[in-house]
Structure formats: structure tokens, C-alpha cells
Amino acid sequence: MANLEVDFLGMHLKNPFVLASGILGTSPSLMERCALEGAGGITSKSCGAEPRVGHANPVAIAWEGGVINAIGLTNPGAGEEVDLLRKTKKRLAAMHVPLFASIFAPTVTQFGEVARIIAEAEPDLIEVNISCPNVGSEFGTPFSASASSAAEVTREVRRSVGLPISIKLAPNVPNIVEIARAVAEEGADAITAVNTMPAMLIDAFAAAPVLKNRTGGLSGPALKPVALRCVAEIASRVKLPIIGTGGISSGVDAAEMIMAGATLVGVGSAVWRDGPAAFGRIGRDLSGFMDQERYNRIKAMRGKAIQ
């Protein structure tokens, strides 16, 4: 049987699969459930300074290409989140599964403040979500849109906490390498690529957009080729480990992502069809693929497609 273990920023994960932010990362029990089902790492739902209820329904639709969502960053606020993360961390640590805490903020200064509060829960890493496509009407253009704004947030969070940080990038930029390079120079330890792609679904019979927010983020199978391209470009040019995320729903998908240069593999929308059991299935799948193709370790596949 192939060995799925991976080393990442001094952590040792039993497999490369990380629950992506915003998928079931809302409570200790749900994060524990995903770990029990086989996730190698867990990312919590993005949290900001204040509580947010998020957008009104419809907020998510699954269609043949995947999922489109505009949840709108629902979260309990950093104060409450710290308690929730502490409880989660304790349960996950018992299973040797690291906890990545995702944060967002509307301003550079607030990114630092939220990071400092969340750091009290001692997550294994802070993931900095600068790329949510669904709050533009309130927050303006995401910080992921340019190298300079992405760098500013990274610098602020780097100054604020000693924990490892990963910056989560958006796919809809003209030059993702330039942005990845800028955050690397400001001291990011890793890059998460990618967040969802801004998109719209229209119901012709209703003559209206399906989501109440009108637009949302596209994820799942339709996003995979976009994510693979982003990861491959970053991995070829920037020397940081990557949490490759977008459309991974089978072991072969995961192999593709690792061959594009990812160290870890984020899994989000795939949870839709079979629930958290998706982790077990994708893991067994990948192990089968590796046995068949004679890769004994994850490392042997990494970057193979971009050499």
C-alpha cells in the first residue's frame, strides 16, 4: 500500500487532504467528524472581527459542473471563534490532525487584529482569506486582486503573529505568480490556491439569477482546470509549499493536483455528494492510483507534470 503521509511546514500529516475553509468548519463536532472520516488536516470557516449572518437564501446550488455559492462569510466573530477553535484543536490534536484557522477582514489593520485574537487558540496555521468573491458590495475589491494589496495584508499578519501563515489567493487575476511572489517576499509560509471563481447562474424560466446575491463563487469539477493551472504556475516560480484547492473529488484529481506541484490538497465541494465520507473514499482512491502507477510516496509525484 502506498504511503500517503506528508510533511508540511514541520507538521506531519497522515495524508495530504485538508478540509477546505467554509465547508463544515463551523463547529468542533463537524471538524472532528471530518477528521474521523479521514481528513489529514482541517481548515475552519473564515472568521472576521464581528459576527455575520451572511447572505439570504438561495445561497448555494449544486449543478452539473459543481457548486456555486454566496454564503457571505457567516461566522460568530473572532471572540467566540477562539473558544470554538480551542475545543476543536484539543479534539484534533488527539488524532494528530492539524488545525488551520481561516481569517478575513475588510481592512489591512483588521487582518492583524483578527489574526492576533485567533492566534490565542494556537491553531497550527493561520490561513489568510484575501479572496472571498461574495462580499464585494460591502468590502470592495478583494486584496487578492493585486500584488501590492496582497503584500500589505501579508506584512500586517506576519507582523502580528508568530504562527505559520498561508495566504489564500483568487484564480481570477491576470498574473497569479506575481501575487504569490509578493506574499512570499512578505514572509508567507505557504500559499493556498485557489478560492472560488466569481460566477453567475441564471434560471431562464424565472428570468433571474438563481442566487439571492446574484453572483457567487464557482467550485467543484468546473474549477479544477483553473486551479491546476494556478498551482502549476505558482509551483514553477515560487518556492513555497502550496495547498492546492479546487475541484478535487477523486484520487486521480488529487494526483493531478500534486503533480501540478501542490504539497497538500484542499477538498471542499466534493463533500457534497457523499458527505464527509468523501475523505475516506478519495484517500483510498489515491492510494490505489499510486499502487497501480508505482509511486510509493506522495513526494515522488510532486511537481511531476511541471518538470
Binding site: 463544515l24 463536532s29 472532528e32 448555494a60 449544486a62 457548486v67 455559492n69 454564503i71 434560471d203 424565472a206
Partner: protein, 250 residues
């Protein structure tokens, strides 16, 4: 023309009045492959989208109590008006044994009527216990009777049946029917009382819970049954009402 989109527009063929605040919207087309206890998401563009238990499949029907803005909008619709539906979603009831006791509070009676029909078609014994504040709040009583179910009633003001909560008629039903499984749909406090009673009786139970459904596809975490409730019920924490439920098997 079969609609290939995400939602399917169903048109209302009949809006049947069930009680003071509740209507059953009977649509113009069936929904295939459903299990009693499953739900659909009903969307009115520009107004909102909420989950409703399926109360009929041939044709599709949902039973709506007017308690807030969205349910009010639904109950104001008339024959011919469209409602955008996606589903069926979730895990519903599954018949176990041949003698069934169904317990409904409020519009909970609606999905149970579909379950009763399935059981009666198999020649099983079905008893139904319904509770409400007062006689005029009860619903579907004559429909259950017409199907041949034994019906037990409880009202808080004693206007019909036993005075008090629906749990007050269970003792009698246990003795008369000797049920093999209890199935319930209604307000969460009623379900928690039933969980306790059935545990004492050592009776298998299937409870249909409600929660805030947002994504409806098991991704956002909004509908999680609180951990404390899971522990009380003796099920594994992290239960998602939209995906693992709405029916919980205890």
C-alpha cells in the same frame, strides 16, 4: 417541455385549506423517487427559498403553515402560480416492522400522511397521534381516518380528544397497537420528549428535526443538530439535518 435547469417550476393545481394558518399546495406534476420524510427546497425568485417536507408525490404537494414572511408568500399563491422546486433532499423515514405509530405536531402531520399511505399500501397497521393547541388547529384528521388509520387526538384546551400534549395519548396507543416503531414530525421539544419516552419503552424511533437550512447540500454547516442534542439522542455528533436527516434514527 422537461426543464433542464436547476430548479423545476411546478404550478399550483390546488391550494387546499387545512386549518386557520395552513395550506397544502398541490402541484401539477409528480416528483419521482421520493421517500416519505424527505424535503424539497421551494424558491420564489426575489422572495426567498426554504425547505418543506413533501406531503404528496403523485402529484407533488407541500403543506405550508403561515408563520413568517416566506411561508406567508407561499400561502398567498393561487392556482396556476409557479413555485421553483429542487429536490428531493435528505434522508426520510423507512418503514420498519408492520405496526407503526406516527406522531405529529402542527404541520408535521403532512409528511406523516405520505408515510401512512405507504404503510397502508403494504397492508400494515398504522396508528396516528396528532396534537394541537385547539381543535381547529388539527389537520388531515379525516384523511388519516379515510386511509383506515387508528387516530388518537390531543388538544391543549381539551376541545377534542385528550386534554394536554400529544404525548398524553401515547400510553393508550402503546397498549392498543403495540407498535414496533414510532415515527414523529413536529416541533423540536415534542421530539425530545418522544426520544425520552421511547427510550423508556425501548421502542425504536425515527424523528424528523428542523434546523436553519441554508446551502441544503451538506457544505455550510448551518443545519447541524447541536452536539448536546446528539448526545442526548445517543447519536454521533456532527449530524447535518439537510444531508444526514431530517430524519434521525435513534
Amino acid at each position: 417541455m422537461k426543464h433542464e435547469g436547476l430548479f423545476t417550476p411546478y404550478r399550483i393545481a390546488e391550494a387546499r385549506i387545512e386549518n386557520r394558518i395552513t395550506r397544502t399546495l398541490i402541484f401539477d406534476a409528480p416528483m419521482e423517487g421520493i421517500q416519505p420524510g424527505q424535503y424539497v427546497m421551494a424558491w420564489l425568485p426575489g422572495c426567498g427559498e426554504k425547505p418543506f417536507s413533501i406531503s404528496g408525490d403523485e402529484p407533488l404537494a407541500i403543506t405550508v403553515a403561515d408563520v413568517g414572511s416566506f411561508s406567508h408568500a407561499l400561502t398567498q399563491l393561487e392556482q396556476g402560480d409557479p413555485v421553483w422546486i429542487r429536490g428531493p433532499f435528505g434522508v426520510g423515514f423507512s418503514l420498519s416492522g408492520e405496526r407503526h405509530l406516527l406522531v405529529g405536531g402542527g404541520y408535521g402531520a403532512a409528511p406523516l400522511s405520505l408515510l401512512a399511505r405507504c404503510a397502508m399500501e403494504k397492508g400494515h397497521t398504522v396508528a396516528v397521534a396528532l396534537g394541537a393547541k385547539t381543535e381547529s388547529d388539527l389537520m388531515l384528521v379525516s384523511i388519516f381516518r379515510k386511509m383506515g388509520c387508528q387516530v388518537y387526538l390531543a388538544t391543549e384546551d381539551g376541545s377534542v380528544g385528550v386534554k394536554g400534549l400529544v404525548t398524553g395519548v401515547l400510553e393508550k396507543a402503546f397498549v392498543e397497537i403495540n407498535p414496533e416503531t414510532l415515527y414523529a414530525c413536529g416541533p423540536n421539544p415534542m421530539l425530545m420528549r418522544l426520544a425520552r419516552i421511547t427510550r423508556e419503552e425501548n421502542l425504536p424511533v425515527q424523528l424528523s428535526f428542523e434546523a436553519l437550512i441554508r446551502c441544503g447540500v451538506g457544505l455550510c454547516g448551518s443545519c447541524e443538530l447541536p452536539e448536546a442534542v446528539c448526545l442526548k439522542l445517543g447519536i454521533r455528533p456532527g449530524f447535518l439535518i439537510c444531508h444526514d436527516g431530517p430524519v434521525v434514527r435513534v
